[in-house]
């Protein structure tokens, strides 16, 4: 059995999670404003709405990736010696990237959405200058460079410690050469797989980002719009998926501490993660099902892999968590409750994604609020729940491990708010309400207003989580 043998970089990670918690709250408030504006409860100029949407998208992807990275770094650093300075460099580059992005939106009025889809950043119709689009792209490049460095540090340590990529992915367990008892722990397998696809995603992302940047300043170096879209969605899909694959490491590592039962890398677990590694990269064409100029095989592959990629996730993480919890005597508190919620939300969020991944459905549904419905379940009730769970875990030593009343209330409020909020997106999507529209028709506004109320609940819950975290850190310092 491979056991944690190093002290994790607690203080650095606690600080990172504090930053991420603050960003999450701020972005939730921006989300609330957008829903309220769509419901005509407040008035926001359409140009400002798109700037807020760009900020919300980039900010939430950033916050999710930051929390995911912090979780992965924290737990991997319990098994191998990681150079702490690399994380500091990562965090610094990340924050500079955020500065550029915020500057491009607030000072430069950039509002082309976080996916910077060509040719919108280049042809703004006067809404923003070239410099603003360039600043946004440079910001993303800085964040990408930070991630690359962090992935390289973890990757090289895992490769040298666990006998190559194959060893870290537990291939010897698949082939039966090594017993699950001697296998690398689930956290290592998950981290290795994530690092591989995320690094490939970043390399492709960097290529399309730099091409877009060159195109902004030398327009005669044209970008092929379809190829650019493919590269952007490959990068974007891989990057946002990596956030939750990093965050799930917290489930693998923390839940066993609550049950006292080790979570081992079984053969099926190892196979599932190697499958995920391929599926995450092959599934991205399901974002391009409406692009009729795409080759048919790519779209069909997107649909098939969409179905397939649900299987390793649902069987391995969700199903094995259920089996694992049934036979154990888990102690419930905020951390364990949020982590289990995270896996549940993730699994549920996959269902609308698979539906949208069907070509026949996608033609009708993809530009409706069905899709934000899917990824808000996936993130709000999945990745973000896991991140708040990890934050609760980090301050566990400071307080009694009881599931206190205030925590129970906050959890309940967050859960109710999250379900109601995402349900409104799905309902609107089923009614063909378009997504990314600043102004809504009268008959769509009921769901917008209900969603606004639920968003408030989410924010109240999240506010309590973050406040408890801050108090927790403060008391922990003193003791």
């Amino acid at each position: 059995m491979i056991k944690p043998s190093h002290e994790p970089h607690s203080n650095l990670i606690k600080f990172t999670m504090l930053l991420a918690g603050a960003v999450l709250l701020l972005m939730m408030i921006i989300g609330l404003l957008m829903r309220a504006a769509q419901g005509d409860l407040i008035e926001i100029d359409a140009a400002i709405f798109y700037q807020l949407m760009t900020a919300h998208g980039a900010g939430m992807v950033g916050a999710a990736s930051l929390t995911g990275a912090a979780i992965m770094w924290y737990f991997v650093s319990r098994y191998v010696h990681l150079v702490q300075e690399v994380f500091v460099v990562f965090l610094t580059l990340f924050l500079f990237g955020v500065l550029f992005i915020l500057g491009s939106i607030s000072l430069g009025q950039f509002g082309a959405g976080w996916t910077f889809l060509f040719p919108l950043p280049a042809i703004s119709g006067g809404a923003w200058e070239t410099g603003a689009a360039a600043a946004f792209i440079i910001g993303l490049i800085l964040i990408g460079v930070g991630f690359l460095l962090m992935n390289l540090e973890i990757g090289r340590k895992l490769i040298s410690t666990f006998d190559g990529i194959g060893g870290a992915l537990a291939w010897p367990v698949i082939s039966g050469k090594v017993a699950p008892d001697d296998a690398p722990p689930p956290a290592i397998v998950a981290s290795m797989a994530t690092i591989i696809f995320n690094t490939i995603g970043i390399v492709v992302g960097a290529a399309v980002l730099v091409s877009s940047l060159i195109n902004l300043y030398v327009p005669s170096f044209e970008v092929d719009a379809l190829l650019a879209k493919n590269m952007i969605y490959f990068f974007g899909h891989v990057f946002i998926n990596a956030t939750i694959y990093m965050a799930v490491v917290a489930v693998y590592e923390i839940i066993p501490e609550y049950t006292g039962k080790p979570w081992k890398t079984s053969r099926i677990f190892a196979i599932a993660w190697s499958a995920i590694l391929l599926f995450v990269m092959a599934v991205y064409p399901h974002h391009l099902l409406q692009d009729t100029v795409m080759p048919a095989w790519a779209l069909i592959m997107g649909q098939i892999v969409s179905y397939l990629s649900g299987i390793p996730l649902l069987t391995v993480t969700a199903f094995s968590l259920c089996v694992y919890l049934r036979g154990s005597n888990i102690k419930w508190d905020l951390a364990s409750a949020l982590l289990v919620l995270g896996v549940a939300g993730w699994s549920v969020g996959v269902v609308p994604a698979i539906i949208d991944g069907m070509i026949s459905v996608n033609k009708i549904m993809h530009n409706t609020q069905w899709v934000p419905g899917h990824f808000h379940i996936y993130l709000l009730l999945g990745e973000v729940a896991m991140s708040f769970g990890f934050m609760a875990y980090l301050i566990k030593e400071a307080k009694s491990s009881e599931f206190q009343m205030i925590d129970k209330t906050a959890f309940g409020v967050y859960l109710a708010g999250g379900i109601g909020f995402t349900l409104m997106f799905l309902v609107s999507g089923a009614m063909s309400v378009p997504r990314r529209w600043a102004v809504h028709a009268e008959e769509w506004m009921l769901q917008d207003r209900i969603a606004t109320a639920f968003a408030l609940l989410v924010i109240v819950g999240a506010l309590i989580f973050v406040a408890r975290y801050i108090i927790g850190i403060a008391t922990y310092r003193r003791t």
Partner: protein, 197 residues
Amino acid sequence: MIDGKMKLLISSLIFTFCVLSKGALEKLPLTHILVQLPLLICVGYLLVEDKSQKIGEWYIGGEWNKGGYASLLIAIFTIAFWMLPRSIDAAISSGTMELLKFLTVPLLIGVPLKLGWHRTHPILKGFLKAQAISMLGVAAFIYIHAPIRICNSYLENAQQDLGYGFLYTSIALAVIWSAPLFLSQSAKSFHLQILRG
């Protein structure tokens, strides 16, 4: 193992080949950029021995090149210079630039890479490799698709061939650099034994 003298011989043979095949290789941008220039880099790379005493301690392991940053920077700036389409155009149309190319590509790219690479931090190495793969992708993107002629000395379809050349080079480098990571590194696996305790 190939010893220092042998390397020097190979290096000068490649250089002679480059000079003699100048006309043939420079006829197409693909062979100019992706055959002649890499060969010239090899000329420089083979020119110096890591631990050779002939060049002197200062040059090989001196304080000035701590971490290999200085030599990498020299190489990167020189590469950037020769990546400019107008530099390549100039190397064809002007004899001075041609001479400059034959001197600077071995001496300011090949030699510094050799001097700096083994001193470079593994993370920086990984970063530069990822960067190289990515930027070859950018070059492929532009050269395949650009509706304008990037080099005045070459035809547009030859320019596209070069673009595909960049793409295949990028893929090849990705495979070459990542394949060894999948292999078992049994020499290091004693870590694993300790962890498994």
